[in-house]
């Protein structure tokens, strides 16, 4: 058994892992809609409350956990080109 000092040195820096919590609006295994709604809510929130309003980040964390990167890239492009189908 290694000494306490060695065990302490191997201790990892605690990292906070988090993902989108269960949302009863999206009870299915397929979470596409949860991803999409979070993306829309994030941009709606920022439009309404301003870009520096911290609580909006909750929605960003949700869609960043749930959405494939390619979708977010596609939707970002669509928003830039003013052809995103959702209401923001």
């Amino acid at each position: 058994m290694p000494s306490l000092a060695v065990m302490a040195s191997k201790k990892e820096v605690p990292q906070e892992l988090s993902t989108a919590p269960f949302d009863p609006r999206f009870p299915n295994q397929n979470q596409t809609r949860y991803c999409w709604q979070s993306y829309v809510d994030y941009h709606r929130c920022r439009k309404l409350k301003g870009e520096d309003y911290a609580p909006c980040d909750y929605f960003r964390k949700c869609y960043e956990s749930l959405c494939p990167f390619a979708w977010v890239e596609k939707w970002d492009t669509q928003r830039e080109e003013n052809r995103f189908p959702g209401k923001i």
Partner: protein
């Protein structure tokens, strides 16, 4: 072939129409594919002319067998009725498939559509304008065809003629309004699943209205040549069933696609 038989069945004669009709159908199919791929309509037109000529002459033969040769006994007529019932049942399921596609797409619209129905950017028809008028037209045509039916049952030639004529006019008016609506449409069949489900469902319904109107015009012409009487009008009844079926399909289209779907 004589009419002297010891049974009530109709032993049919040799006829070219099944074979020619089958060839016409195959030529139409091949020609339509050729049109899709090469923008060339000659073969399709030959096929369609063959089919139209076949149906005209086949059904002409059947009216001769039934009305002039008396070969349609009550037992044979029973078979014809069942044939029409089964045919309309199959047509019901044909339309069920389009409603299935519509509800599949509209009850849970995908995020590509903006998660809403009608999808983002689709400008739909106002259901209280031409579509409501069309509903009134088809419901009225249901009244006029019943008027014609009761007139024929009472051997009232003139009112039978008037009822049939009015029904045909209402059918043509419906088709004209749908054609106008299609020309004015702000979306096309290629505009998302909305355009696809809308035009496939209403387009096939329109095709059935045209077929039903043709059936009614045939009845009108047969009535003009005194084919119908109170105990001989199975062809008219088949046309009336078909017309009611087309009417009911429209009510479902109106309620779900035009009204709920807007």
């Amino acid at each position: 072939m004589t009419n002297h038989m010891n049974h009530t069945f109709h032993m049919v004669n040799q006829s070219p129409w099944p074979l020619i009709g089958a060839m016409g159908a195959m030529i139409t199919l091949t020609g339509t594919i050729k049109w899709f791929h090469q923008y060339e309509q000659t073969l399709m037109s030959i096929g369609m002319i063959t089919m139209i000529m076949t149906t005209i002459q086949w059904w002409r033969d059947i009216t001769r067998e039934g009305t002039y040769q008396g070969l349609h006994t009550s037992k044979v007529t029973k078979g014809l009725r069942w044939g029409m019932i089964l045919f309309i049942t199959s047509e019901v399921f044909f339309f069920v498939s389009f409603f299935w596609a519509f509800f599949h797409s509209s009850l849970s619209p995908t995020n590509e559509l903006g998660s809403m129905w009608p999808p983002t950017g689709i400008q739909v028809f106002n259901p209280l304008q031409i579509p409501l008028l069309n509903t009134a037209i088809l419901l009225s045509s249901g009244v006029t065809i019943t008027w014609a039916h009761h007139s024929i049952l009472e051997n009232n030639y003139n009112q039978g003629l008037q009822g049939l004529f009015m029904t045909v006019i209402l059918g043509l008016y419906f088709t004209a309004l749908q054609a106008y609506e299609y020309m004015e449409s702000p979306f096309t069949i290629a505009d998302s699943v909305y355009g696809a489900t809308f035009f496939v469902a209403t387009g096939f319904h329109g095709l059935h209205v045209i077929i039903g109107t043709t059936f009614l015009i045939t009845c009108l012409m047969r009535h003009l040549t005194l084919h119908f009487s109170s105990n001989h009008h199975m062809g008219f009844e088949a046309a009336a069933w078909y017309w009611h079926f087309v009417d009911v399909v429209w009510l479902f289209l109106y309620i779900s696609i035009y009204w709920w779907g807007s």
